[in-house]
Symmetry: C2
Subunit: 138 residues, 2 copies
DNA sequence: CAGGATCCCGCTAGATACTG
DNA sequence: CAGTATCTAGCGGGATCCTG
């Protein structure tokens, strides 16, 4: 995520600075949390996955649960979540070293909201797909 | 948005097909609605902006309210929303032609959820930014 | 007015290889 | 095990010009 999007730069240049639409920090955050892997990692850590209880997970466990994530994106996303205070990273000096990740309270509060999004998707996807087919047919 | 992400292809290739994490339709939908302009357009059409009531908006009104969106992305995003049954597109044969966009009931139900996300961002951004500074300092 | 068609650039996800 | 480093291709998205 860039520090400032082209849209924001343009708005700034034109001196039309709209709080919600362009340069507002909450917009930045909205961008952040609507990231693909962010959503999945938070769900995974919250235990919001079939056959899993909430609790800390190790790096390798995460990479197994979040099917399809590359090492690069996993590390990168975890770092950004840690930076934002949404997850904790705990290193246990065993050999080899053990690293676990867990949600913070802040992270859990976010998860509550994210869960609703997931819920909406699950409830309405049939309807959306029906619309999509009708549109493509017409 | 691609029909199938690289992650999905990989999952399919490995025959590890996880419902929520890889190829599930609800995942696709989550991707869709976490789009930047989708969020903003829905908010705009819902009237979830300073000094605006809900109601239909014209193409040019949208492009003015959603600061920074290009014509291409505006059209593209509106089309996809229409295809998914989230907005309606109404053409009135005046000269020149008048086109208005409005949320459907489905779109409004989504907006309810999106609003929560926005709300979360607005309430917790200070905390997140504090974490961020601390992290960068350390 | 409401777009369609093109060109083109920057970013970034992803693959691969390496390491404490 | 839990990452880091490097390279590259692909495409999202912006700018620009054009039209019914």
């Amino acid at each position: 995520m860039p520090t400032m999007t082209a849209a924001q730069k343009r708005a700034r240049a034109k001196n039309e600075y709209d709080a919600f639409l362009a340069g507002c920090p909450s917009r930045e955050l909205l961008d952040r949390i609507s990231d693909k892997w962010v959503a999945l990692l938070i769900a995974a850590l919250a235990g919001d996955l079939p056959a899993r209880e909430p609790g800390p997970l190790r790096y390798s466990e995460l990479s197994r649960q979040v099917v399809g994530v590359s090492q690069k994106m996993l590390t990168q996303t975890l770092r950004s979540l840690e930076r934002d205070g949404l997850v904790t990273r705990t290193v246990t000096p065993t050999v080899p070293v053990t690293v676990t990740y867990d949600l913070t309270d802040l992270g859990r509060s976010l998860q509550t909201v994210m869960r609703q999004l997931k819920s909406w998707a699950e409830q309405h996807m049939d309807e959306v797909f029906a619309h999509r087919e009708a549109y493509d047919a017409g």
